[in-house]
Symmetry: C2
Subunit: 376 residues, 2 copies
């Protein structure tokens, strides 16, 4: 009889990583399922929403190989409650499975595993390897700026594109929602298929970030792209993302070239000040006003129901007086992804986008946020 | 000019405790406000939803006494973001207040503080004192069983009633939602006004629990009741609850007297088993089946979409076979409030309520949960 044995903690970890993929599209019932295949002392778990797919590889003692497809959520709920120890899973007739662990016995309804959509196949030899922590940092520092509206699919994606950095090979990530943009460059070995840039769905990129948070800090991540998909190998996980088709906005054209008002600001002080002034911004627009004078920034906000707020902050600024309105949250989220004690803010006038960069000893920084101004 | 100074951390603690009371009833705008009165080096904060009222007393440096009424939520949001240090609050014209802290300046819209509903007055000398941890334990072990439907007001309340315990003075708390009941007795000094029992609203009792979680463990709590209200003095907080009018169900009649099937069960094992079997109970009814045989309990469940589950548990039971259905969550919540390694379950037949008690060395236990059976 087809069955296998597995450690509860191993199975739970795999199920936990894969949960986020399943059950979002309820039109096709099998997409709320997890596909299981056990062979050669390995259990493979596969989940997909047809845009993002994921495969987990887990050590198991396979007595006779087999396949099954059962509710991902229900299996996870059950395994979570089981005592630590070994679980036996048996294939039953009519696609059901039988799961036992110590004195617990579960019979789970299944669907025909042959009907489960297969993942695009990938070739191990095409992977380039980059440090997992580099990829995680790059995602962390951009993904927040991508649009969350799936309908705006061309800016719902995160752009991955090859980028020379001081003459060396590198990777650039760019995300925007039309009101702000975040960009980061890091040196790394060349990745196949991203010469002209590829666009990955936000949700899938967030799944990659989740898996990266689970693997060991010093692990390398395998990556490559073909015409239709991106492949990410992280520890025992493979994540496959369907690329977004269509033209990404010409982001290079958006990067301001002549912002000549340059302000150096202590980051933590600016962050706290923005949080305070934002409490009096209207909930809908979140608008606050920044007034720059020589070495001084005054922040103000006004709420029609609650009142107003004002605060002064010492900054380094030599230019003429300037008043600009911004969405406070966009500035806060940009500061959150900058790691340096000081940041550089570059402005032109009250109608042009500003840039925020970490202050580094190197010339042009390898990280950038652009925020559009707003009328206050 | 009327103003006072206060430590940020002191004000924040008071505002945080009082937040839960405000803003629930939006029909009367001033109820989303907090009433502030500063006099004699003290700031009083008052909030009320007309059913539950709360007064916080905070040390402050008062330069000239005054009163104000401002949005509780907005003031809390602002104070939370302020740096540690001293805050100055000034009364302005048209009921506004001005709040400054270091370089931050806020002007907050206010309403006429004279229009803020006053709390019922209380007399310090009427308080009886009981240990805060005793009251907290009694609330923790009963309040979960009270109905959350405010429309069912007579069982939405928690009954506080005087109770002799082995001939000594004590307090009993009882809560029920019609499907289960929880009761606890603890010795303590007599409390004025509860001879015939008083009924307190669940929401207000939860606010008391929240405050009890904040005061020091060994603090005493002052309590008394008059015809219409209950008064609780906890550290620097006073909570005033309007009593629920109406007849509480005759709970003593509900306590089974002739449950002759007595089972002793190891609590943690039972709890884990119930959690597992509950994963296969239907979401709506949460029903599972318990089958008792000599020294053995078999738990089973069945879900129309997902399958079935079964587990056996060793118990101490000498009686005849018996099958009873229960809502798994009611059993789990009862076990959660029992502190002993073993619990006693007492049954009569498949149609009668069962009781659960902690197993203690004393005769009748001072804590009891009753759960109604269900047809599975």
């Amino acid at each position: 009889m087809s069955f296998f044995e597995i450690q509860k903690s191993d199975l739970l970890k795999g199920l936990s990583l894969i949960q986020g993929i399943t059950g979002r599209r309820t039109t096709l019932p099998i997409l709320s399922h997890i596909f299981m295949e056990w062979k050669e002392n390995t259990l493979f778990l596969i989940a997909t929403d047809l845009e993002t797919g994921m495969r987990e590889k887990i050590k198991a003692e396979v007595h006779e190989e087999g396949k099954a497809s059962v509710s991902a959520k229900k299996l996870y709920e059950i395994v979570r409650e089981l005592p630590e120890g070994r679980i036996q899973i048996r294939k039953k007739e009519n696609h059901w499975i039988n799961l036992t662990c110590e004195k617990s016995i579960f019979n789970l309804v299944g669907l025909d595993p042959e009907e489960f959509p297969s993942l695009p196949s990938f070739q191990e030899k095409l992977f380039s390897f980059i440090p997992g922590q580099t990829l995680k940092e790059m995602i962390d520092k951009t993904v927040f700026a991508a649009s969350s509206e799936e309908s705006r699919y061309h800016i719902h994606g995160i752009l991955f594109i090859q980028q020379k950095i001081y003459g060396r090979e590198g990777l650039r990530l760019v995300a925007t929602d039309g009101h702000r943009l975040s960009l980061i460059d890091r040196e790394c070995s060349p990745i196949k298929g991203i010469e002209k840039g590829v666009l990955l769905p936000k949700k899938g990129v967030l799944e990659i970030k989740k898996v990266l948070g689970e693997i060991e800090e010093d692990k390398e991540v395998g990556i490559y792209f073909n015409q239709t998909h991106g492949f990410f190998q992280m520890g025992s996980s493979i994540v496959v993302l369907r690329l977004i088709e269509g033209e990404y906005p010409d982001y290079e054209q958006v990067i301001p070239k002549d912002n000549d008002k340059i302000i150096k600001i202590e980051k933590e002080g600016f962050y706290g000040c923005l949080r305070r002034i934002a409490t009096m911004a209207s909930e809908r627009l979140e608008g606050i006003k920044l007034s720059f004078q020589r070495n001084l920034l005054e922040l103000t906000s006004f709420h029609p129901d609650f009142g107003d707020a004002k605060e002064e902050l010492d900054v380094l600024y030599e230019g003429p007086p300037l008043e600009v309105g911004f969405n406070a949250r966009y500035l806060l989220e940009a500061l959150q992804v900058m790691d340096t004690p000081f940041i550089m803010m570059e402005l032109k006038d009250e109608g042009s986008p500003c840039t925020l960069r970490p202050e580094t000893s190197r010339g042009p920084s390898d990280q950038l946020c652009i925020v559009m101004p707003m009328r206050i």
